[in-house]
Amino acid sequence: MSQSAGTGGLLARLGKQNGTTLGRVLGSGTQAEAEEGPDGKMHATIRIPEDELVFEPGILVLPHGGTVELTLINDDKNTHCAVLPSNGDSQFIWLVNHSKGTARLELDGPGYYWYGSTTGNDEGRGLTGAIVVSGDTPPEAKLDRPPQPQP
């Protein structure tokens, strides 16, 4: 294996082919945190840039479990979709070329969830993203024992 190309240059090349999976999540993925409104609902925008087969941000972080309202924008010149996790049922939306839509998700925390575009093997080519829910288990559900190391 040659390492002479330098990690930065190699990642840049991989990022063009498959920004999230190869070039960013596994290397230096893009992240953003949802904004929390006064009503406790969280909001975020996720975009599919042109010719990259990625969701931006690749990792959306929610400060806690609950309701998040997403704006989804497809800036690509190809049709994609999104199948998103939500308690009750997965949420599905078609995203034709240059389109914009919304989704409302109910998610538990803590934990992380994958989502993706399930059309045209978009997932295989990298059009997947992660939603990471921060926070902790409620005290009444925790084990009665001295504090333990945890991730």
Partner: protein, 363 residues
């Protein structure tokens, strides 16, 4: 970036709206209650309204239309096909492990990764579905599975991989209440089929391979209010704690999870929990002693969650001999007995009172 106005993609929809399902089930579960479950096998053999078919765990049906002579002629009446969509945890080990319940023509069945379905038992058509979003990073020792549901008072009760217990409306699948009873960041999860006893739903925790302290929990059917929690590993000073190292922390991560459904004796008013392996599974040096109440049958008072007695099938297990196989309740020669097939290769018959010297036979 383009500047012209975006095409309106609308709002995301429930994935189920892309399928032809009714969205509603007949209200057959509304009248299921403790009294009906007590008499389930004899009074309504055409149904299967609780896990094991009855509280005694025999899994026996008195129906006789299918018998040893005609069983070879059975052919499928219908097939319900459940697909898998997108990425989910335990991708190499997900499976159906649930026994369906049937209530007057409606079948309630759970699947991997948070699925719950109500089906028309006559033809397999889907009436409603619920899908819990399961975090990808839950610790799952042995697969992305769920072992089934409970039904009572118009609700379907199910546990989720991330250790919630849910009550769903049995007619629509809509959530009624949702309680967290395990800590996923501590390595806990849930796969057990709940059991309804009196006005409570009883569940247990998974995670015995990940250094947790096993427990069972009870919640009110109507509201989800917590009634009790019963730990299967005693704290220092509690009965059984002498079976753990006195100067160590092993009890804090000792295992004894209740990931299979208990049986119940309404006359003795005792739940019989089947507890799992001690942790760590194979290294007994860090947990000298018998390690109660791992690999045990533990008799618990359902009214307050207190342990009344126990019997340990494998003291100080270093072979991962979960004793999670059900404890089957039966009477013989006027005696109230309990039978248990253990992973250690023995079949045990015990007096149900589980008093000292309780063992009657081991084969």
């Amino acid at each position: 970036m383009a500047t012209e106005e975006y095409v309106d993609a609308g709002h995301a929809v429930d994935f189920r709206t892309l399928s032809d399902l009714a969205g509603k089930a007949p209200a057959t579960a509304k009248s299921v209650n403790y009294d009906r479950i007590l008499k389930a096998r004899d009074a309504e053999p055409h149904n299967w309204i609780t896990y094991y078919g009855a509280y005694d765990g025999k899994r026996y049906s008195p129906l006789d239309q299918i018998n040893v002579d005609n069983v070879k002629s059975l052919i499928p009446a219908w097939v319900f096909q459940a697909g898998s969509l997108g990425m989910h945890s335990g991708a190499s080990t997900y499976a159906f492990e649930a026994a369906p319940l049937v209530v007057d023509g409606v079948m309630y069945v759970t699947g991997w990764d948070g699925w719950v379905w109500a089906l028309d038992a006559r033809n397999g058509s889907e009436l409603w579905r619920y899908k819990h979003a399961s975090p990808y990073d839950v610790s799952l020792c042995c697969g992305n599975v769920n072992r089934g549901c409970a039904v009572a008072e118009g609700k379907v009760f199910v546990t989720t991989l991330n250790a919630h217990v849910l009550a769903l409306d049995a007619e629509t699948g809509a959530p009624v209440w949702d309680q967290v009873y395990g800590d996923v960041r501590a390595g806990e999860s849930a796969t057990v089929a709940p059991l309804v006893v009196k006005d409570m739903v009883i569940v247990g925790s998974s995670g015995g391979e990940f250094g947790v302290r096993g427990h069972a929990d009870a919640f009110k059917l109507e509201t989800g209010e917590r009634v009790w929690r019963c730990y299967m590993i005693p704290k220092p000073g509690e009965p059984g704690s002498e079976t753990w190292p006195a100067d160590g922390e092993a009890w804090q991560r000792g295992g004894a999870n209740c990931w299979t459904t208990p049986t119940y004796d309404p006359d003795l008013n005792l739940l019989y929990f089947n507890t799992g392996n001690p942790c760590p599974d194979f290294d007994g040096a860090v947990r000298e002693g018998d390690n109660l109440f791992t690999d045990c049958v533990v008799a618990v008072d359902p009214d307050n969650g207190q342990i009344k007695s126990h019997y340990q099938y494998t003291p100080h297990d270093v072979w991962d001999y979960d004793s999670t196989m059900e404890n089957i309740l039966f009477d013989q020669d006027g005696k109230e007995l309990l039978g248990h097939f253990d992973k250690n290769g023995y079949f045990f018959v015990l007096d149900r009172g589980l008093q000292p010297g309780t063992r009657r036979a081991v084969r």
